[in-house]
């Protein structure tokens, strides 16, 4: 292991010269963790996430991380993460599908406990019949927890979102967890080109005293989130205290946007902003949407892409602005419920322009042809027309 030197977060993320590597999504996540000056990583196996925490374990064995263990199960893992972060450590864990749901009671309480942490969510099927294949329905369960939810399109995003995730989550005016989601297998187990920062540079350590809610370490008067018995009972005081606390969590979530702008170049990426028809997509579906835009443009169809990087906070204003003149909005997704289509519909006045789908799930891939069918529909072109290329 090379001796690592601490550099300023902006320097590391925005300005250091990067090296191009051909690595998997799991490797990209682990490489980001390696540069994040992590104190404690807690692992529990589940396909397809396991690969990430294997690699993080290797990094610990090499000395990049100060403590690491395999927990009893995800509820235990996510609870221990809360303990470590309240003790002032910087922590990391990752999970997938059923594991995420098993840990969800703990995870959903992280924002309220003011736990700044990064959680890798490498999506897979939840629900029966059991399958280990990619499907991102689990992200919908995260949307109402209060945490920041980023959705990575590819290996590069995984690296960038994970590294920036630590910085964003620990900002005093944010101070809530960040989930970095991406599709299992399609991204975690496939290689792509990733520009990564030098191995010998790392983020500054966490300063737990730079916080809206102090750590519980007997060095500083503690915050008692659950203090007085009357507050735990049913009365107007307790309603009020819970209400203002949760309002603050959601305000914190909104305030993450300025750092998403700063470190990730904004919550959305727009290809062909003057388009007539837009594809709005996140994660892997954005990669396929990108291809569909290329196909369409080759055919002379004016199609654009809105890639949504940040699902929470959801970039309502930006999405509304880009889509204000859209004739049709196609939302391809890797899940059956269409959570992204609902998000988009909810924030634009012309919601009937949204074509929910195509949707694939249970492990299916998302062929560009499926998206193109919707594009042709949107332009009133007969379906029988073949896709070029």
């Amino acid at each position: 292991m090379p001796e690592q030197r601490v550099v300023d977060a902006d320097e590391l993320i925005l300005r250091t010269e990067r090296q191009r590597k051909f690595i998997t999504g799991a490797q990209a996540m682990a490489e980001a963790v390696k540069r994040a000056n992590v104190d404690v990583a807690i692992a529990y196996p589940i396909t397809p996430q396991s690969e990430v925490m294997h690699l993080v374990g290797d990094i610990w064995a090499q000395g990049y991380i100060r403590d690491y263990y395999r927990a009893e199960e995800e509820y235990g893992a996510m609870s221990a993460i809360a303990g470590a972060v309240r003790g002032g450590a910087r922590a990391f864990s990752a999970t997938s599908g059923p594991g995420l749901l098993r840990g969800l009671e703990a995870i959903a309480s992280w924002p309220g406990h003011r736990i700044p942490v990064v959680l890798g969510v490498l999506t897979r099927v939840v629900n029966a019949p059991l399958s280990i294949q990619p499907d991102n329905v689990e992200i919908s369960y995260l949307l109402n927890c209060g945490m920041v939810v980023l959705h990575a399109e590819n290996q590069q995003d995984v690296f960038d979102f994970t590294l920036a995730g630590f910085v964003i989550s620990e900002k005093v005016d944010v101070y809530i967890p960040v989930a970095v989601c991406t599709e299992g297998f399609f991204v975690t187990h496939a290689k792509g080109y990733v520009n990564i920062t030098p191995e010998e540079l790392k983020l500054p350590p966490r300063d737990p005293y730079k916080a809206p809610v102090p750590p519980t370490d007997c060095e500083i008067p503690p915050a008692r989130i659950q203090r007085d018995a009357p507050v735990q009972k049913s009365n107007f005081m307790s309603y009020l205290i819970h209400a203002v606390w949760q309002q603050e969590i959601w305000s914190s979530n909104k305030r993450a946007m300025r750092y998403i702008n700063h470190y990730l170049g904004g919550p959305i990426e727009v290809v062909n902003p003057g388009a007539e028809v837009f594809i709005v997509a996140s994660g892997c579906a954005a990669a396929q949407g990108r291809e569909a835009v290329r196909y369409a443009n080759m055919e002379g169809l004016n199609v654009g892409l809105v890639k949504v990087k940040s699902i929470r906070p959801f970039p309502e204003k930006q999405v509304r602005e880009v889509l204000s003149n859209a004739k049709a909005i196609i939302v391809p997704e890797h899940n059956i419920v269409g959570w992204l289509a609902k998000e988009v519909k909810a924030c634009i006045p012309n919601s009937d322009a949204v074509i929910g789908g195509p949707r694939v799930y249970g492990g299916m891939t998302l062929p560009v042809e499926l998206i193109m069918e919707r594009v042709y529909d949107a332009f009133g072109i007969k379906k029988s027309k073949k896709v070029v290329v």
Partner: protein, 288 residues
């Protein structure tokens, strides 16, 4: 450093609440108290909303007075009666989710070890029979298997008191409770043997009839956890409401159970035994 954060900044003494000033001036921070002096010093927990005659409240009172280093101790609890008193104490308290105490404590203790390698920071879990042996069973056991350095105290009232009197795994066989309308169908779980098998280095079982003994047991459990590994105390803390024990009969009941199935029991590894023989010969060293 722990003392630093409880100390009142010079000039602020007369603006601080009287209770807090008393706590710093006449309390336990930075000194050792004799449990038999209870009532003659400012205690870490005084007011609490627990039921009249609650023996769990009494046990918790003695527990706080027995802490070897309260200014560097963090208590972790979960849903249940105990947390109503724990959250009122002048010791940092973490109240997480259902049954998560031993997982939270694992993460917390590890973080504190990383950040303060040369300074003891004691972590103590106090939770009920439901929290530790039912809903949190896996996390309780695995924290012991992993040999985490913290103390687990089960305040066993043999019932889910706070949710209205349901059967728990620690209720005695045959007892009729809510969710056990025909009486409990299986035996009380043997938590002490589980703790020994799972790797606790110090295990004790008691009925709180003797404050001096409670204090000694708590102190030993905390110190052994600091030095060697997981420790466990199984304390009988009756629920006088759900088990209909008249307030004036609560102590009598504790004595009866002590004779029946809660006789004082203490077990420790040879290493821990040696440590205490050495330590208790020179009591002055405890605080260092």
């Amino acid at each position: 450093m722990g003392l630093e954060y409880v100390r009142i900044s010079p000039g602020f003494e007369r603006y601080m609440p009287k209770d807090y000033v008393d706590l710093v001036q006449y309390g336990q921070f930075g000194k050792e108290v004799d449990i038999q002096q209870l009532g003659q010093f400012k205690e870490l927990v005084e007011e609490h909303p627990m039921c009249a005659g609650c023996f769990m409240a009494y046990f918790i009172r003695v527990f706080y007075a027995a802490l070897p280093k309260p200014e560097d101790t963090i208590v972790i609890g979960t849903a249940g009666c105990a947390r109503l008193a724990l959250s009122q104490a002048a010791v940092p308290f973490i109240y997480g989710n259902y049954g998560d105490t031993n997982a939270v404590a694992s993460g917390l203790k590890r973080a504190l070890k990383i950040r303060f390698p040369n300074k003891p920071k004691d972590v103590v879990v106090i939770a009920g029979d439901g929290g530790l042996i039912d809903i949190g069973f896996g996390m309780t056991m695995h924290s012991w298997f992993r040999r985490e350095n913290f103390t687990t105290i089960m305040v066993d009232n043999e019932v889910y008191g706070n949710t209205g009197g349901q059967e728990s795994g620690m209720s005695p066989k045959g007892v009729q409770l809510k969710m056990a309308p025909k009486g409990k169908q299986f035996e009380k779980i043997n938590a002490v043997e589980l703790a020994k098998t799972a790797g606790c280095v110090y295990v004790a079982k008691l009925s709180p009839t003797n404050p001096k003994r409670i204090a000694k047991t708590v102190r030993r459990a905390v110190l052994a956890a600091r030095e060697f590994g997981p420790t466990f105390i199984h304390a009988y803390t009756s629920c006088n409401i759900e088990y209909s024990i008249p307030t004036e009969k609560v102590l009598e009941d504790a004595r009866k159970r002590e004779k029946q199935d809660f006789g004082f029991y203490e077990w420790m590894t040879d290493e821990v035994k040696e440590f205490f023989e050495e330590l208790e010969r020179s009591p002055q060293e405890v605080k260092t």
